[in-house]
Symmetry: C2
């Protein structure tokens, strides 16, 4: 019992170190300990495990230590939409901090482990440990930005562009938490999941994937993605990683970024002629 307890605790510390929550605010040791002490409930979960059902009441937050989770909504006509992917280090259901009934469900896309934190405790930590509050703010705002970019992608990009953009984003986010090896990463999503995340149909995802593969930009087999040609993939969607705010979160992967970072908003090469006159 006791040994299991400490083992679990040790795992927490080790794994938490890899999380964005952990890294994002440079917590003081005292704060870190406070946070870790809260991690009483660590659960190993299998793929498909629901963390939160749609419309259900909640009073806990789920922090992903390992594995992928999807935040989804089922529309009235029965179609499904995946509004966010939670990767290791992400909070799956931040809204639960304030609302006791969310408008989405959360489910595991792969096996993994999660920390279950009572909302009330998090709330207390927020006031007692300003550094934790800062970390959570960063997380919430970064999530907001990611969602905004995601939305723009769905609204204004072609199927190929959306797919390319998602794969680029996932590579960087996974690199930051040490879950990518070089330019490839384990990818637990099915084509149906992809369709639901990008606002397309599975059939069309299939064809789009094929066209992406045929360009040699990526490889996807055995549930693993490899970005063979980053520049090509990036070019397909004009990926600009600034929105991820990785600098705020981590600095280690400047390498990967540096090649891309030069594409800051200012220095965009004159693209194909703008279609719309830009005046709001």
């Amino acid at each position: 019992m006791a040994s299991a307890q400490t083992a679990a605790s040790a795992t927490n510390v080790a794994t938490l170190k890899a999380t964005r929550l952990w890294l994002s605010a440079g917590l003081e040791p005292a704060d870190r300990d406070a946070l870790v002490r809260e991690c009483g409930d660590v659960r190993a979960v299998r793929a498909g495990t629901p963390l939160l059902r749609e419309g259900a009441k909640t009073d806990v937050l789920h922090v992903l230590l390992d594995g992928w989770a999807a935040r989804y909504t089922v529309m009235a006509d029965g179609s499904r939409f995946i509004s966010a992917l939670a990767l290791p280090g992400d909070v799956c259901d931040l809204d639960a901090l304030r609302f006791d009934q969310l408008n989405y469900g959360v489910t595991m896309l792969s096996a993994g482990t999660v920390i279950v934190l009572p909302r009330k405790r998090v709330d207390e930590l927020l006031t007692s440990h300003p550094a934790i509050a800062r970390a959570l703010w960063s997380l919430a705002l970064a999530e907001n930005t990611i969602l905004t970019t995601w939305t723009a992608s769905i609204a204004r990009r072609s199927a190929q562009g959306r797919l390319a953009h998602l794969l680029c984003e996932l590579l960087l986010r996974l690199q930051v938490v040490g879950k990518a090896t070089g330019n490839s990463y384990d990818f637990p999503m099915t084509q149906e999941h992809l369709a639901d995340a990008l606002g397309l149909t599975p059939v069309h995802i299939n064809r789009t994937l094929q066209s992406l593969r045929s360009t040699g930009a990526i490889t996807l087999q055995n549930r693993r993605v490899t970005i063979c040609n980053w520049e090509a993939l990036r070019g397909l969607c004009n990926f600009n990683p600034r929105y991820l705010h990785l600098e705020t979160v981590h600095t280690e992967f400047a390498r990967t970024l540096s090649s891309t970072r030069s594409l800051g908003s200012e220095s965009l090469p004159p693209p194909s002629r703008p279609k719309l006159v830009l005046k709001i």
Copy 2:
């Protein structure tokens, strides 16, 4: 000078009372005063005034006292996307609380007035006044939810559904801050704006608007929207206002909601058969 100062201050208090920021957390008088004292810089702005340019550095937050603003992104091909609408009481650029370079621009859609708050001050308020921190958290999380719903709408609804949903959402959000009269409200957006907000083209917005009008559900003329048949409009998009978390924010409009609230997640009438088998 001094009188202008106090006049501006009085306006603040009066108008702020109508804002979500104000109402959402039931601030104590002391907190309210602290917040109001910060509102040194109140600007009257005209339609089209940019509050924040894309990719520019910022160190201030803009709180809308009156008027509409749009948060937009320009894609590489020159097309534009409006990722959020800020209404009176909303914070236009919350991300600036943590990041000094945002990935969107903000511009006024109508004339209005804004409070300009230095990020640093807000940051201080956050730690010194827990109630303000709570209010801002609610705002940030509610915004997140709205964005999620918006995204789902774009990803999975038809043009008509998207339009209907947006008009429903705007009615409720405006009612909450007292900017709607009955079932109608001033509507400063052009059809091009609508197109950019819903991921469509202006031409198609035009046709969709006509079809909506022809059903008798709405009226849109002279920059004013009237919802003639709420039930019909709601039916077109299965609008469920729960995601707005209005109860957390305001309770006065229970009337309008009550008719809709009954459509809670549990009691959804069996819709047309689900197209997908729902298992994640």
